[in-house]
Structures are given as structure tokens and as C-alpha cells.
Amino acid sequence: MEKNAVIIDLKNISVSFDGQQILKDLNLYIRDGEFITLLGPSGCGKTTTLRIIAGFLEPDSGEVVFEGKTMNGVPAHKRQVNTIFQRYALFPHLNVFENIAFGLRQQKKSKDEIRKTVEEMLALVNLKGFEKRNIASLSGGQQQRVAIARALAVKPRVLLLDEPLGALDLKLRKDMQAELKNIQQRLGITFIYVTHDQEEALSMSDTIVVMDSGEIQQIGSPTDIYNEPKNAFVADFIGESNILDGIMHADFSVEFQGMKFRCVDKGFGKDEPVDVVVRPEDVDIVAPEAGMLRGTVTSVTFKGVHYEIIVDIDGFKWMIQTTDYSAVGDKIGICIKPEEIQVMHKSVYSGLYGDYSSFSEEFDELSDPIPTAESDEAAEE
């Protein structure tokens, strides 16, 4: 099997529950050995997509192809994919050894082979000596490792991971991210990873699939997705963004906030209304008279590495991340380099994500919920 062959191909997949469409005509192919992440807010259809690949759910229409063979109608236990569940779904009545050996016993492997494989797996996830331990006596991180070992023990071609780190605390999550990536690279198997955490997606993936409302918004490498979001949704969901209404006068020339700016985008219609994205860290603060735009600082928050400054420019609130301190009430000017301006066609998301006038940390938390049992269920059903 050559390295970049397509291993899974989803063709025109649609699913709805109780009249509500969860996936709308989804098309996605996944290459062998790829670390691909399905990223999106809860309810976007990412878990549903995963369950269709795993075989827990049959699509209403469309085809699931695995190595050229259609998988529609093939039950979960006959597919060469394995899943790591959100809350691990370890078997509480079995010890660590038996949990990992479970799939091997199903495959009727010999005793020696089972012991050997389980030992290998325990070494892989750094849990040597935990064979006899009870599941309930393990910490969250250890349970996570057992879940990984259990799924990998049966040597799947594709590993599906459904928000696997969601239940861990921040520090542990970071460590596990690195470890998962490491395991994936060592074993060279395909990982399909589902998360709502954009940072996690950016740091681990080869490819990110941004989803919303049952549709794919953008597919690309982490840098592509970050630097060149296709629409306001992607721009807003991945990192912080100032999204402004603009008009594309000609190639390399865009106007917003009453000023013409040079940019690197081309190929738009003449005077086409567009969305303009400027990342907060790409804005330079200068003296008011030297700035392309001028405004007043309305809030300053110290973030450790940088300050987060909200500047009111003609009624639009910009977010700027900078290491230079400004005080509230200061008049400042801003400069933006042409390559830092990202121009996008108008989409259904235009206008939904605007400036930072109503921004607060708590509000951000609320709009980006950590999945609970209910939201998880909603995403599935």
C-alpha cells in the first residue's frame, strides 16, 4: 500500500434524525497514514461522521468506501477501524490486562501472543506493571492510556478518536497531545480525530476539516486554515479575528473602514463586497499620526506573553495583541502589512462575527462549550 493512497472515502453522505439534518451531502477522503482532525462546535456533525465510519450509524444516503470497498451495511465488529470513546468506555469489570486483551480474545489469538501484545501495548502507553490494576483505581490519564492500548492492540488500519482528551485537565491534555502524535507517527496508522478545541487541532493534525451545521467549511493544513480562512466562520472559529466589511476595488486593493489598503489577494470581481480578516497579532501599534487608522484604547488586559488591547476605531472595536503597553484612553494609530490582510468572499456567516464590542472572557467560554453528556448526545442524535 503506497503511503498516500486514499483509505477512506465518504461520498455524498447525508444523515438526519427526527427531521433534523445532521450531515448535508458530505464528501471527504482520507489518506492512509494521515492525522486528520474533524473540528467544529458541538452539533456540527463531527461525531456523527465518526460514527458512520465506525459503523455504529448507517447514513440515510451516500457511500462509505474503505480501501475501494463499500462499507455500507457492514456491522461495526467487522470493520478494520477502532474507536477511542470520549469517556473511554473501558470495561469496569475487567482489569487492565483483560481490557487490552479483549479484542485479541475476540480474534481467538493464542495465549502467548495475547500476553506479548498486551505487554507491547502497555509499554507503548507507558503503563508497564499495571496489568492487574482495577479500572476504577486508575486516574483519568491512565484510563486514557488503557483506552489507547486497547484500541491499538487489535492493530486497526484506522483509529477513530472522539474528543479523547476532553475529560483531562489542561496540563495532562498537552502531554497527551504530544504523546498521541508521537504514537501515530511511530505506528504510521491513520488517525481520525474529533475535537472542538482549535488549538488541539492546530498542533496535532496533518489535515484539519472544519465543520459546521453538517457541512464542511474548509479542508486544509493547519497553516492554511489559520492563515487563509475561507469564510468568516472559519476565521472566527480558528483563533481570534477582526472581521470587517470591505470592498475589493481591484486585485491587491481592498477598502475597509473608509481607507484603501494594499493586499495580496486577487481574482475578485470589481468592487465586490468582501469580508476582511486581520489577526490581532498582525496589527502594529504606531503613533496616531503615523497610523493607517486611528482610535482610542477602551480596554487593556495583561495576558502574560502579550497585552490584549481593544481599540475603538470609528465605532468598530479591534482586538490587538501586542507586547507594547498602552493605557485606556490613549489615542493610537495602527498599521497592517499587505500580507496580513486576508480577503474572503461573502458567505452565510458574513456579519455574524463582527468586532469585539461585546467581548468578554466568560462570553467566549459560553459560546465555546466543553461538551457535556447532553451536548454529546445532541451531536449524535
Binding site: 465488529h77 474507536t83 468506555a89 470495561f91 482489569n95 479483549f102 480474534q107 486497547r150
Partner: protein, 645 residues
């Protein structure tokens, strides 16, 4: 201070919980049959229990039923719980859950009656008359056990990660094997709790079982409840003590297993192992009990009757291998206890006819069973007024007296009685009269008038019947009325008389009279002459008198219901019961009047010369007749007034 209060509280709880058990265990080792007279330590009642085949059979039936019904309920209930749990629509889930819970909320009597009606109805459709039996009991017990199983399994399912089954399938299990490999082990503790609850409920259910059981399969609660007219046999104390000991043993075993499992907690499988061990130990203990019960039934050697002394022949080839259903009062036949013969076993031995022997505790009880039509009996033993009623309602059939040559032993004064003037429908079985029992240590005079029950000297030392007909009778004799009067005036006057008596009454009793009179707790009580003899054996201070105003006489007689299936064998059985050797055994066991001329002349009959049973002077006595509907309604209304006054 606080600690001593809490200790005191614990002590009280312990006393209230365990004092009854302790008393029962002490009584089970009491040589005397009285609850109040201690005559030294003895294993007598345990010995009696081993000979009491009816009770042992009932015990074994009860355990078999409890184990089968709870096992099936666990299987069905677990499946139902899994189904309910996986329902997506909330309203549907709630609706199904409510429906399954109804049998739990429903009063048992409603469940019992409605099930009986259903079974009888279905039985008629498939034209099987004796539909009530083990299968119907099993269905009924599973039905009322189901909600308990579902309710104990559902929460376990909710606690179980819903992705467990998917995880197993993901690793190569089919959905079915995923359920057995990972879901089942995680809900097993709920299943076992459900099993134990179902088992316990099934074990002591009386009401529902009463309605849906048939003569071939009686459970222990039904048998014990049928003993309430007479005194509960002390071997029941022995049985209850043994059951208590078994439960105690079970609890100890469980705790030992649990403690062991706890120690091994860090090792996997401990929890599931301990719960399966629990289930196994429950099973083993009860299987042992069933085994012992069966062994005891097989192993008993009974004294036999001398067949050469029989007048009739009971080997009828055409009847061998057939069976009859006999419905008699509780403790109304010599059953092999206290070295007597087991009459029923003897009949089975000599005739080859199998007898399904069951018991009732009131005429009304018998009547409702007959009317339910779920069971056909071949021989029943109602009292006088009930015979009259059954006859007029067409529920009896004429007996072929040509098949009952032993009818010649029935004395003349038991023939042509008001309820059967032509001697067509019944053969008298026993009889008795009510008199006054009094304690000579507390009563100086000879209370030969019912008026003593209104004497303030004996306030709070007087007992009376806790049933309306007999209690009113006492007032009616004193007032000179007939106990069968249709005059509402007379009934009301009698009620007034009883209300006036009420402040003097210590309590209204039936079989509690034995303990209270034997212990000297009360001075005066009206009761049956035959039962006085049993009391006097425990307390020699007791004496008996027939009041001069007159009293009640009753006769219980064997009849064949109209829907009997095996009339020929029924007649063979009736003839056997009139056999002098048999009648003698019964007369000795019962202590009531014996309507058999051969027995009355028999030197071996210990009560032959009893002045109490067979008074020289004629006692003025009246039978109860069947009262009309209006009078019965008035009576129950007035009785309520008396009890509430």
C-alpha cells in the same frame, strides 16, 4: 449522654425486631403445644414437622415456585429493562415504565382477583376446567415480580457507560455477545438484587397466590392461613425457626463472601465474583431445603390402619391412578402427627387414588372458591347453613348412597337434618356445640347463663367471638331470640346488647382464645367444646358449661359439588372417611363430635365418656340457617357499629 441515648435506641430497635423471633424459637422448643404453658425443652415439634407431609410439601412447593418465578422474572425483567433503557422517546419510555409499575401499585387483592378471572376465562376457552395450578401461580408470581426486577436493573443500566456495548462491538463482538460480555457483568449486581427481591416476595405472597392456586399446588402461606380457625400447630414454630435460621445462615455466608471480596478488591473480577457467589449461595441453601423437604416426605414412616378391620373395599381398579380434589377445613383430618395415622396417605395407599388435599378457613372462603369456577372439587366439607345455601344455588349434586355402605354408621340424630331433610346431599363429618369456658381460679360460681358475660365483676376478663354470627348469637340466646330471626328489630336489640357489653370485653378473638385461656389471661370465653378439651389439657383450672338459655350447634358434612370430575372416587373417599377405624383416628385428632356409631361404642375412643362432648342431659341448641341477603347486610352493618362503638 448522647451515646447512651443512641445505645438505648439501638437496643429498643433490636428488641422490637428480634423479640418476636426469639419468642417463636423458644416456643418451638417447648414440649407443650400451648403458647403460655412451658413444659420443658423438647425437639418434639421438629419431629412433628418432619412428619407433617402437607406442610413440607407446601414448603417445597413454595421454594420451587419462588426459585422458578424469580429466575424467569429476572430473565424477562432484565430484557425489559434493557428495552426500556434503549428507548429514545422520553414519553414512550415513561409510559412503558408506568405500565410496568402498575402491578406494584395495584392492591394485591385486585391483582389476585383479576388474574383469577382471566385464568378462568382463558381456561374456559380452551375447555380446561382445572386451569388453576402451578402454571397460573407461576405466571402470577412472575407478573408481580417483574416491576421489582426492572426497577433494580434500570438504575444499573443508567450507571453503565452507554458506549460499553459499542466499544465491545468495535473490538469484534457481535451486538449479542457484546451484551453478554460487557453489559451483563456490569448490571449483574442489579440483577441479583432483583432476583433476591423477587424471591422474597414470591416466598411470602399470600393474597395473589390464594386466588390463583389450585388444589394440586398449595404454597406455605396458603396452608398456614387455612389454620386460623383452630390453633396454629406448634410445628409451624419449628418451621419458622428453621426458615429464620436458614436466612441467618445465608446472611452470614454473604457477609463472609463480601469480606473476602473486599480483601481482594484490588484484583479484578472481585465484585462480579462476589455477587455470583451470593447468588450461588442463595441457590444452594434453598436447594438444600427443598431437598430435605422432599427427603423428609419420602422418608416418613407412618403408622398404618389395619385393613382387615375395614368394612368396605377400596381397591377399585377403574379408579386407580385417578385423582380427586378434597377441600376441607384446616387441621381437620388426622395427618400423621403425634403418632396418629395419616388418613389421606392411607386412603391413597389402599385405593390407589391420588388426593389433592387443600384447606380453607371459613365457609365463605369455600363459597367464593366454588363460585370462581376456576377449580373443580370432588369432596368439600361445608357447615350446615352453607350446605343449605350451596344446595339452593345448585352447586351440589346428589350422592349415590349405594356407594356409601358405611353411611349406616351415621347416628339417627345426624340424619334428616334441616339442610338435607331427605339425606340426599351430604354425609356428616363432625360437629360441635358452643359453650362457656371459664377459669375456676377466677370465677367462683358455675356460669350457667350467658348473662355472666355482662357481669361487671369480670370486666376486662371476658373474651368473645371475633365473628358476627357467633358474637350476635350470644346476645340472641340471652334475649330469647332465634339466631335465624328475620326481624330487624330483634337484630337491632341484640346489637344494643352487644354495645352494652363492649366495655367489659377484653378482646374479640378467634384462635387467640387458646393462649389467653390457657395462660389465665382471661376468665370467661365462649368457644367450641372440642377446643375446650385441648385448652383444659394445658390448664386444669379451666371448666366448661352449656348455658341454660341455649347455644349453637353445628355440623360439618361431606358433599360433592355439582362440577365434580371424579364422582365415583369422591364417593369411595366419603365411604372411607366413615370407616370406623378412620373415623376413630379423626375423632381423636379433632376432638370434636364424632357422628359414627361404631366409634361412639369403641372402647379405644378416649372421649367416649366426655361429659363435655356428649352431655347426658339434652342441651338446648339451634343450628345456624342461611340468612337472606337483607338480613346479612343488616348484620354486617350492625357488627361494624358494635366494633366501632
Amino acid at each position: 449522654m448522647k451515646r447512651s441515648v443512641s445505645k438505648l435506641y439501638t437496643a429498643f430497635i433490636m428488641i422490637f425486631l428480634y423479640a418476636p423471633m426469639l419468642v417463636m424459637i423458644v416456643l418451638s422448643f417447648n414440649g407443650s403445644s400451648s403458647t403460655s404453658v412451658m413444659s420443658g425443652f423438647s425437639f418434639k415439634w421438629y419431629g412433628e414437622l418432619l412428619k407433617d407431609t402437607v406442610t413440607l410439601q407446601a414448603l417445597s412447593n413454595t421454594l420451587v415456585l419462588a426459585i422458578t418465578s424469580s429466575l424467569l422474572a429476572v430473565v424477562i425483567g432484565t430484557a425489559a429493562a434493557v428495552g426500556i433503557h434503549s428507548m429514545k422517546k422520553k414519553w414512550l419510555k415513561n409510559a412503558v415504565l408506568t405500565v410496568t409499575n402498575i402491578p406494584m401499585m395495584n392492591p394485591e387483592i385486585v391483582t389476585g382477583v383479576s388474574m383469577m378471572l382471566l385464568f378462568v376465562f382463558v381456561g374456559k376457552l380452551v375447555s380446561s376446567q382445572d386451569v388453576l395450578g402451578f402454571p397460573t401461580l407461576l405466571i402470577a408470581h412472575i407478573t408481580f415480580n417483574l416491576p421489582y426486577v426492572i426497577l433494580s436493573v434500570l438504575p444499573k443500566l443508567k450507571q453503565t457507560d452507554k458506549h460499553l456495548s459499542e466499544a465491545a462491538q468495535d473490538l469484534g463482538c457481535t451486538p449479542v455477545s457484546a451484551f453478554f460480555k460487557v453489559v451483563l457483568p456490569n448490571i449483574s449486581s442489579g440483577i441479583i438484587t432483583g432476583f433476591i427481591m423477587a424471591f422474597t416476595l414470591s416466598l411470602d405472597d399470600f393474597i395473589i397466590s390464594y386466588f390463583v392456586s389450585g388444589p394440586k399446588f398449595q404454597t406455605l402461606p396458603i396452608v398456614i392461613f387455612s389454620m386460623t380457625k383452630k390453633k396454629v400447630k406448634p410445628d409451624m414454630y419449628a418451621l419458622s425457626s428453621l426458615i429464620f435460621a436458614a436466612v441467618l445462615l445465608l446472611l452470614i455466608l454473604m457477609n463472609v463472601f463480601q469480606a473476602r471480596a473486599e480483601r481482594k478488591k484490588m484484583q479484578a473480577n472481585a465484585s462480579s465474583k462476589s455477587s455470583s457467589l451470593k447468588a450461588v449461595s442463595v441457590f444452594v441453601v434453598f436447594a438444600m431445603v427443598v431437598g430435605i423437604a422432599h427427603f423428609a416426605i419420602r422418608g416418613t414412616t407412618q403408622s398404618r390402619l389395619d385393613e382387615t378391620k375395614f368394612f368396605g373395599t377400596y381397591e377399585v381398579e377403574s379408579l386407580q391412578g385417578t385423582e380427586i380434589n378434597v377441600y376441607n377445613w384446616g387441621e381437620y383430618v388426622a395427618d400423621g402427627s403425634e403418632d396418629m395415622v395419616n388418613v389421606i396417605a392411607e386412603f391413597e395407599r389402599v385405593s390407589g387414588v391420588h388426593v389433592n388435599y387443600t384447606m380453607f378457613d371459613s365457609n365463605e372462603d369455600l363459597y367464593s372458591k366454588l363460585k370462581s369456577e376456576g377449580i373443580s372439587y370432588d369432596v368439600i366439607v361445608p357447615s350446615d347453613y352453607m350446605i343449605e345455601r350451596l344446595k339452593t344455588e345448585g352447586l351440589l349434586q346428589k350422592i349415590d348412597f349405594g356407594n356409601i355402605p358405611n353411611y349406616r354408621f351415621i347416628p339417627d340424630n345426624y340424619r334428616n337434618l334441616y339442610f338435607d331433610p331427605q339425606n340426599e346431599y351430604c354425609v356428616p363429618y363432625t360437629g360441635g356445640m358452643v359453650g362457656l369456658i371459664y377459669n375456676t381460679a377466677m370465677v367462683d360460681e358455675i356460669p350457667d347463663s350467658w348473662s355472666v358475660m355482662w357481669d361487671e365483676k369480670y370486666a376486662n376478663n371476658i373474651l368473645t367471638f371475633n365473628n358476627p354470627r357467633d358474637a350476635f348469637g350470644v346476645a340472641q340466646y340471652l334475649l330469647g331470640y332465634s339466631v335465624n330471626t328475620t326481624s330487624a328489630e330483634e337484630w337491632r336489640a341484640a346489637a344494643e346488647k352487644l354495645k352494652a357489653q363492649k366495655p367489659l370485653i377484653q378482646s374479640y378473638v378467634m384462635d387467640e382464645v387458646f393462649g389467653k385461656m390457657e395462660s389465665g389471661e382471661a376468665a370467661i370465653a365462649p368457644y367450641y367444646a372440642g377446643d375446650y378439651l385441648a385448652m383444659a389439657a394445658e390448664n386444669p383450672d379451666l371448666a366448661f358449661v352449656y348455658p341454660k338459655e341455649g347455644t349453637n350447634i353445628f355440623v360439618d358434612a361431606m358433599c360433592i359439588p355439582a362440577n365434580a370430575k371424579n364422582k365415583a372416587a369422591a364417593e369411595l373417599f366419603i365411604n372411607f372417611m366413615c370407616e370406623p377405624e378412620v373415623a376413630l383416628a379423626n375423632a381423636e385428632y379433632l376432638g370434636y363430635l364424632c357422628p359414627n356409631t361404631a366409634v361412639l361404642e369403641d372402647e379405644r375412643y378416649s372421649l367416649k365418656d366426655s361429659e363435655v362432648l356428649y352431655p347426658k342431659e339434652k342441651v338446648k341448641a339451634e343450628y345456624f340457617h342461611n340468612l337472606d341477603r337483607d338480613t346479612l347486610d343488616l348484620l354486617s352493618k350492625l357488627w361494624e357499629e358494635v366494633k366501632l362503638a
